[in-house]
């Protein structure tokens, strides 16, 4: 069954997120919620909200949805679900319950919706979580995602902005899916490149996350719509400097080639605008690599800050199931810039 769900879509996938600064400005106007149980709230810009259930366990709660970035509805469902589930893994948690979030045009064939939901159900089941229902409304273009609830042991909770100087940084998925989808929009991407990008986006971060058990992990986040560099800046915060090894960054090769032909997204440029403080350092890198640093990732990999002596061992474990994973940098004591290349 062929249907183009892309036809009416503006900007699909994580390219559709509100720009990082825009959201921050809006959230700053909401008074904070002083609840003792709320360990992680929206003022922290972490991957999910965390609420303490008791002394040992916490609830993780997150939601993600967007309009299609691929033509096939089932693939779209899988990717959207994988993307939503990822935030729970990024906090060290295990997803247990998911709810569908659906927007769908009144006049579109309902078989398309069935396929989207089937894709979402597949990934939810693969994550070992239960799909409990959801909410749907009519909209002029389809949108899909999940609200996900997970559990995490308090002592295993992973924040996104607590890397320690001396840690090594691991990235578990290659960059470049946004660029490949952009090129595909313009009819300029190879079938093989799109297949690689789709496989990457469908992949659950579960397998990499499970390898973290027993390792001394300082911080963890997942790379999504703000691009690698902005998520890196979030991780560095005000506390440390991340040194990124540009030649070690994993990426889908065609993505770099397409970037060199300027086949990039508007969201990527917005990400670049947000990271203007790093413009000087970024300018020293080859152009294609620069664009990969800002490329919005849909359902991207985990960025893990781990005790340096354990990094090689953790990497080998992760690579068993996610072969593109690589050590891509290290954490230093805070210098003038939150991020440098070296």
């Amino acid at each position: 069954m062929e249907s183009s769900i892309l036809a009416s879509c503006t900007s699909g996938g994580c390219g559709a997120k509100l720009a990082p600064g825009v959201l921050a400005d809006v959230l700053a106007k909401i008074p904070p919620f002083p609840a003792p149980g709320l360990l992680v709230g929206y003022d922290a810009s972490d991957d999910g909200a965390v609420y303490a259930l008791d002394h040992d366990r916490c609830l993780v709660s997150t939601a993600d949805f967007f309009s299609p970035m691929v033509d096939d509805p089932r693939t779209f469902g899988r990717i959207a679900a994988a993307n939503a589930l990822s935030d729970v893994y990024a906090m060290g948690g295990t997803p247990i319950l998911a709810l569908n979030l659906v927007c769908f045009p009144e006049k579109m064939d309902l078989d398309v919706l069935a396929e989207i939901l089937a894709g979402g159900a597949e990934k939810t089941a693969e994550a070992g979580a239960a799909l409990g229902g959801g909410h749907s409304i009519y909209d002029k273009e389809p949108k899909y995602g999940l609200s996900v609830t997970g559990l995490v042991e308090r002592k295993r909770l992973l924040r996104n902005n607590t890397p320690r100087p001396g840690d090594s940084l691991i990235l578990t998925k290659p960059l470049g899916v946004g660029i490949i989808l952009a090129a595909a929009r313009g009819g300029a991407a190879s079938g093989a490149a799109v297949e690689t990008a789709v496989a990457c986006m469908e992949r659950l971060n579960r397998y990499a996350a499970e390898k973290l058990l027993g390792y001394d992990v300082g911080a963890c986040t997942d790379i999504t719509g703000f691009g690698f560099l902005n998520h890196g800046l979030e991780m560095a915060g005000n506390a440390v400097t991340l040194r990124i090894f540009p030649d070690a960054l994993p990426y889908i090769p065609e993505a770099r080639a397409y970037a060199e032909e300027y086949l990039v997204t508007a969201a990527g440029q917005r990400n670049r605008n947000h990271a203007v403080r790093l413009a000087g350092q970024v300018a020293g890198l080859p152009f294609g690599l620069q664009e990969l640093l800002f490329d919005p990732q849909t359902s991207g990999g985990l960025l893990i800050s781990v005790e340096q002596a354990q990094a090689a061992s953790l990497l080998r474990k992760i690579q068993a199931d996610d072969p593109a994973a690589a050590i891509i940098g290290s954490v230093l004591s805070r210098k003038e810039s939150p991020l440098e290349f070296g």
Binding site: A182, A188, Y262, L263, A266, G268, Q269, N273
Partner: protein, 196 residues
Amino acid sequence: MQYLDMTGRPCPIPVIETKKALEEAEAVQVTVDNLAAAQNLEKMAAGMGYGYAQSEEGGVYTVAVTRSPNTPPLETAPPSPVPTADGPTVLITSREFGKGSDVLGSMLMKGFLFSLTEITPLPAHVIFLNGGAFLTAEGADTIDDLKALAERGVEVLTCGTCVNFYGLQGKTAVGTVTDMLNITSRLAGAERLIAI
């Protein structure tokens, strides 16, 4: 200078179309509706050694890219040619378009009358007969499109006998009510006639 309207087109389409246009033309002027799109064009121009200029008004960015590296001048785009109302004569003899389902026929008629506003040249005359008289009567969902035609010089005529027969006197909301002699003259003199 080639002109490209890339408003509403997602990146990287503006870049792709601009690169294509520069294969033929020395200079291309592109309109986009967001800053990131203009910046992506600027990156492309810088990387390819092209000239680049940009201006913005009311959220619309006009970007000029030239094959030579000098800064190109920005021109105001030439106005789109105003279509003249000297096209076909259109005769509409029922409320619905075609036979089969009336519901479908109504939808088709609405679509057809809308599309008359988009053809170049515009119709010279649109004449409503028999059931077609309802389409020019107040309350019809076709009035807006017919008014748009009338404003641009299209003659919209409704048959008087039909208006009277259906009790629509005083209710014709667009164009004029006329008699069969006038209608027949228009039909006879038409170079091209579309009869629905």
